[in-house]
């Protein structure tokens, strides 16, 4: 018998044996095991396990599955918040905001609402949209709130101003919060730090692009010296000066048709314009660098300072 025929006979036999053994195995297991595995408490436990083992994205996915099962009420809101927090921890800030958005829209209970509010504000800060924090509708100005909820929301508004470079606004907010907040707490230190930085930022040394540009136009290199780049300024002055002097010599000797004159004049003109451009841009870069020094001194605060356990 050829090998091909043997395989043809053997394949159905093997499949029949495999099917029988699979049936026997399934008969030995309890009948309701599949339901137990995928029950809501088990899924929540598994999601919690994933969250504690810092597998945040899979935790969010698992919580999404729980949400699909039709949980309602306050429990649904807290699961929504947990999904948002898991996405936040995995640095997927847009997903995080999307997850908790219903909590901000509907009249959920105070804890869930404020947790969602803080999470959204922190997500905006992390995804570099501080202006969106200021635009967030807040309950923090309404009467009847707990003091903690009020000042925490105000701190986040202040952080929004701080990262949007509205130093006066952020200073005012932090100064008013500092009077309400209990001293020596984590948030108090945070506010003090940001208040000091806002005050520092208000008096940062700034260079005017207009002054820099005008100086460079009048004396090449003077704009760079104004920006504190003395070496570059002298180099620019010498380079443009020598080329201009050479072109002047060429034109005075041979008139307008002097090749020597043009060979020096065109690079001199190009470098002169480039120097003016560089001086103006340099002023912007100088100012930006000063602001970045402020931001390097702090980082966006930990969410545990805001979110209720």
């Amino acid at each position: 018998m050829s090998i091909f025929r043997r395989i043809l006979i053997a394949t159905p036999l093997f499949s029949v044996i495999l099917l029988c053994s699979a049936n026997q195995l399934s008969a030995q297991q309890p009948a309701d095991s599949s339901n137990a595995y995928y029950s809501i408490p088990n899924r929540l436990l598994f999601a919690k396990y994933l969250y504690t083992s810092e597998d945040y994205e899979r935790a969010a996915t698992e919580l999404h599955r729980v949400l699909q099962t039709g949980i309602s009420g306050e429990r649904r809101d807290s699961i929504r918040f947990m999904i948002g927090l898991s996405y936040y921890k995995s640095h997927r800030y847009m997903f995080s905001r999307d997850a908790v958005r219903p909590l901000l829209a509907q009249q959920s209970d105070e804890t869930n609402y404020f947790n969602a509010y803080y999470l959204t504000a922190l997500s905006y800060l992390h995804s570099q949209e501080p202006d969106s924090v200021q635009a967030m509708p807040g309950r923090y100005s309404q009467p009847g709130l707990t003091p903690a909820a009020r000042y925490k929301s105000q701190i986040l508004q202040g952080l929004g101003y701080f990262y949007d470079r509205k130093w006066t606004h952020s200073r005012d907010v932090f100064a008013s919060v500092l009077t309400q907040i209990p001293k020596n707490s984590g948030l108090s230190l945070l506010v003090q730090e940001h208040l000091a930085l806002s005050q520092t930022a208000m008096v940062l040394p700034q260079k005017s692009p207009v002054v820099s540009g005008v100086l460079s136009t009048v004396i090449p290199g003077a704009g760079r010296i104004y920006l504190g780049r003395t070496g570059e300024g002298f180099f620019s002055f010498l380079t443009i000066g020598i080329l201009t002097y050479n072109s002047y010599n060429g034109f005075t000797e041979d008139g307008i048709r002097s090749i020597y004159g043009w060979v020096n004049a065109l690079p001199a003109l190009a470098l002169y314009l480039g120097n003016v451009y560089g001086s103006i841009t340099g002023a912007y870069i100088y100012n930006e660098t000063q602001v970045q020094q402020i931001y390097k001194a702090v980082s966006i605060p930990d969410e545990n300072l805001f979110i209720h356990p």
Binding site: L271, Y295, S299
Partner: protein
């Protein structure tokens, strides 16, 4: 504490000013894919292919002046690109060591055209 956002990156600075523009092309290949070559970039390519290769590497910067110019023209157009090249040629001197961060691997100074976007942005359609 969570890791701080990288606000010091040039992309962040640019996106703050013009979020619609998106991230700039950083590598040479990305820049070439972004827009078709014009006469100025062709001139730079000619320089790189036939003139620059005959000389040793003399530029102080990690993104050499010709590559800087090419990216500047591609990203900001010929007018601003040429101004940026002229500015860069003036900045490429021995004093530059004091004013720019050094790349530890290549020991060259780091300088990208993205840093000099302020005026093109100011005069562009906002």
């Amino acid at each position: 504490m969570l890791p701080a956002q990288d606000i010091s990156s040039p992309n962040y600075i640019y996106q703050r000013l013009n979020p619609e523009y998106g991230v700039h092309a950083h590598t040479e290949e990305q820049s070439q894919q972004k827009k078709p070559k014009n006469v100025f970039t062709r001139l730079i390519l000619f320089y790189q292919k036939y003139l620059s290769v005959r000389d040793m590497k003399v530029c102080n910067f990690q993104l050499s002046c010709s590559n800087f110019g090419k990216q500047a023209i591609i990203n900001y157009g010929a007018f601003w690109g040429i101004l940026m090249i002229n500015d860069r040629l003036l900045r490429d001197n021995s004093f530059a060591v004091n004013y720019y961060p050094i790349d530890q691997q290549s020991r060259l100074l780091i300088d990208e055209p993205l840093k000099y976007h302020y005026l093109p942005y100011y005069f562009s359609d906002k």
